[in-house]
Every structure is written in C-alpha cells, then in structure tokens.
C-alpha cells in the first residue's frame, strides 16, 4: 500500500480537506476546559486597571496559531480596562506583538501611551528577565517607538515586577520556562501563558507545581477563550478544519498500521 499511495496523494487529501472545511464556514462548539477557564478567571478577577506585562515570546512561523491566542487574551484584558505593557523577548515577536496590541486596543478605544505601551525587544532573554526584576526603566529606557519611558502615562509607577499583577507570556517555544525560572523564582512575579499546542505538554509540570499560575494552549484553547469572552475569532473559525485534520491523521495512522499488519501476516503465513 505504501507503493501505491504516494505522499502527494496524502498532501492533496489534506489540502482539499482543509479547503472544504474552511470554505464551508461551519462553526463548531467546543466546551471550555478547566485550564482555559483558569486563565480567564485570572484576568477577569484582577482589579480593573491592573498592570499586566504581556511578553510576545514567539516567532513569525507560529503566527497563524499565536494570532487567535493573542487576540483573545488582549481583547479580554482591554475589556477589563487593564493597563497593558507589551514587550518581546524574540526579535520577530516584536513587530507582531506591536501590531496585535495596536489592533486590539483600537477595538476598545484604548490610547497608546495612556492605556497601554509597547516597550519593544531586548536580546538575551535571561539577562532581560533578570534586568527587569531590578529595574524595568533601566532595561527599556525608551519604548518601541523611541519615546522615553518616563513620558508614558501607562508606565507610571511601574519600576519592577512588584508593580505588575503578572506576566502574560504568549509563546511558541520554551521562553515561558525562563519567565518562571528567573522571573518567578527570583522576583516572585506570577506567570500565566498562552502557548501553541506543541508546547502544552512541556509546561504541564510547571502548571501542576504551581510555578505557572494558568495556561491556555493551541487553537482549541483560543476557541474556548473566544467563547468565554463572547468574541468569536480565528480559533472558532478553525475548529471544523482542526477536527477534520485530526480525523484525517487518525485514519492515516489506522490505514498505515492495517497495511503493516496485513503484510506481516502474509509474510508469516508464507
């Protein structure tokens, strides 16, 4: 069977399946998981006007998955009138984070410099996290647009992690680990995160030990969060296609194993 079905047919099958699913426009309901609800409750329970440090710790490659996650979280935080301070520990996350914050802020009439600010990027993430624990203004003397730290009302009274309610790490890799190992362990800042699905199992031990306060994962997590904030977005739009692709992979695994066991039996009997 491996010789008959070339990989191009498998590729074509996936392509057609996703195209049909996306083209249908059907939205599927997804019950909210406890983990996503925990993150929602964290942001919801913060007093209005709390300061949240939002760190865009991801690359452009995971943008299709990160965008719905980031949008849902930012919309919720802006709706609660929290003061958001954006930053990035990876160069590519800089532009993406700036754009996501700008778009979400515009939806809720938030003003740059007053309701939110974007500090930009600093390299060597461990040094940046530790440095911010000593002094955020010293680490970011200017914001992403070149304005002095002191000139931004959104940054009033924010000097170290003690002045923020928590760090929201939107990540596609292991950078959230460093927030916990250096930021939380040394300075006690609470860490919550929205991560790509591939990173979910990486952070489960930190969630279980309480080092990470709450976490939401993947497009499914974004869809659940969109339900909670009653703002459908990329997460919900992708659920039918997500379901279809999962079933496709399961069928492929099944077919592959079936052909393997049939071939093995044939070999044993002959």
């Amino acid at each position: 069977m491996n010789r008959v079905v070339s990989r191009h047919w498998i590729f074509l099958g996936l392509f057609v399946l996703v195209a049909l699913a996306m083209g249908s426009g059907i939205r599927l309901d997804t019950p909210v998981s406890d983990r996503t609800a925990e993150l929602y409750d964290f942001i919801e329970s913060l007093p209005e006007g709390s300061v949240l440090l939002v760190s865009f710790d991801h690359e452009a490659s995971s943008l299709p998955e990160i965008r719905p996650i980031g949008q849902a979280l930012l919309r919720h935080a802006f709706r609660k009138n929290h003061r958001l301070i954006g930053m990035a520990l990876l160069a590519e996350g800089t532009a993406i984070g700036y754009r996501l914050m700008q778009q979400a802020a515009a939806e809720y009439g938030k003003e740059y410099g007053k309701d939110y600010a974007y500090l930009g990027f600093k390299p060597q993430y461990i040094a940046a996290i530790l440095s911010m624990g000593e002094s955020i203004p010293a680490t970011f003397p200017k914001d992403y647009l070149g304005r002095p730290y002191e000139s931004l009302k959104a940054l009033d009274g924010v000097a170290t992690y003690a002045d923020v309610a928590g760090v929201l790490s939107i990540a596609d890799g292991s950078l959230t680990t460093h927030w916990m190992e250096y930021g939380r362990a040394r300075y006690g800042v609470r860490v919550v995160s929205g991560v790509t699905a591939a990173m979910v199992t990486t952070y489960d031990p930190y969630l279980a030990s309480g080092q990470m306060y709450a976490m939401m994962g993947g497009l499914r997590g974004a869809a659940e969060y969109e339900d909670l904030i009653a703002r459908p977005g990329g997460g919900k739009r992708g659920m039918l296609a997500q379901t279809a692709t999962h079933l496709y992979v399961i069928v492929l695994i099944g077919l592959g194993n079936l052909s393997y066991f049939l071939a093995r039996r044939k070999k044993e009997t002959s």
Binding site: R67, A198, A241
Partner: protein, 204 residues
C-alpha cells in the same frame, strides 16, 4: 485587494510549491526569506539594544563605564582575522560565565527542587482511600528517573522500574505527538484561511 496581500499570497504559494518538489521558485522565496529575516533582526537589534543601551547613554549621556561592553563587543569581530581571533574568547567568557552563574540557582530551585517537592504528595486520602492520581504521578516520576539512570545496567528491580518508566515516556511522547499534530495543522489552517479569504476571495 492591496498589493501587500497579493505579494503575501504569491509568496505563500511559492513556498507551498515545495510540496510537489524542490524548485527554483521555492528556492528564490526561501532566499528572500533568509535575507529579509536577517535584515529585520539587524534593525531590531540595532534600535532596541545598541542605540538604546549603548550608543545613546555612552555618547550622549556620558556614561563612560559603557566603554567596557563596547570594547568587549568589538572584540567579537576579532574572529575575522587569524591573529585576533583568540581575543573573541574574552566577551564569550563574560557571557558564558554570567549565564552559568545565574543558571545555578534557577536550575536548582525552579527546575529541580520545586518539581521534586511537587511530587511529594499524600498517596492516601483522609478517608483512607488510595489516591490513584498521586500514586501514578509518584510512580511515573520515579520509574522515568530510573530509566534515565545509566550508571548501572538495567537489570533486576532497576530494569523493571526502567521498563515501567519507558511506558510512561511513551504516554508522554504520544500525548506530545497529538498536541504537535494539532499545532502543525493549526498553522496550515491559518495559512489556508488567508489564501481562501484574503487572497483568492473564495470563502468569507
């Protein structure tokens, strides 16, 4: 449809052409991607770090101690010539030493002790019923650690424990594989959404 969307769509299709086979269109797109992404990183590094943390404070605000990292940073470029390449070890030594120093408490506390303490939990509830979840977690951590203990041959009790550890690892790998499939499919779904809605206007 604006020109940006057209360019993004064409480049997306150029990259997807690799699925058929490696071809000049894909190679051209890949080369452009490499160049642009390195150029992007250069701009971000320059504006966010070299200007903000070094050049402006040193030359405009007169913070003379910053000459030290400036000199150390310039020593990195010693790598380009045989006679000066050994000088690049000095700034590397600063980075390696600093990183190792801050890593010790982080690894010890956050990654080892906190995880170990989270594993120590009661296996019997107040009502006397065994807590299956706690038993599974303790068993899983201990047997997986046994698997990674290679200083002794995996025989006898250690061998049995290592075998059980293998099963726990397989559950972890299977779970991770499932989530990884989910993640990769999500990325492709996102690109398809762009192609169908913004680029080709086939779907809403």
């Amino acid at each position: 449809m604006d020109i940006g969307t057209v360019i993004a769509g064409v480049l997306t299709l150029a990259v997807l052409s690799f699925l058929y086979r490696d071809n000049p269109v894909y190679k051209m797109a890949e080369s452009l991607l490499i160049g642009v992404s390195i150029g992007y990183t250069l701009v971000v590094i320059w504006s966010s770090t070299l200007v903000d943390l070094l050049l402006r404070p040193l030359f405009l605000d007169g913070m003379l101690p910053l000459i030290i990292p400036l000199v150390l940073g310039l020593l990195m470029f010693g790598r380009f010539h045989r006679t000066t390449s050994s000088l690049s070890r000095l700034p590397i030594a600063v980075m390696i030493g600093s990183g190792a120093g801050v890593a010790i408490p982080a690894m010890l506390d956050a990654r080892t002790l906190k995880q170990l303490s989270a594993t120590v939990m009661p296996v019997v509830t107040a009502s006397g019923i065994p807590d299956l979840s706690a038993i599974v977690i303790i068993c899983g951590v201990v047997t997986t650690l046994c698997y990674f203990y290679f200083s002794r041959e995996h025989k006898g009790a250690l061998g049995s424990a290592a075998t059980v550890g293998t099963w726990f690892l397989m559950v972890f790998f299977g779970t991770t594989f499932g989530y990884t499939v989910m993640s990769r499919m999500s990325t492709f779904i996102g690109r398809m959404e762009f192609l169908l809605t913004e680029f080709l206007h086939i779907a809403n």
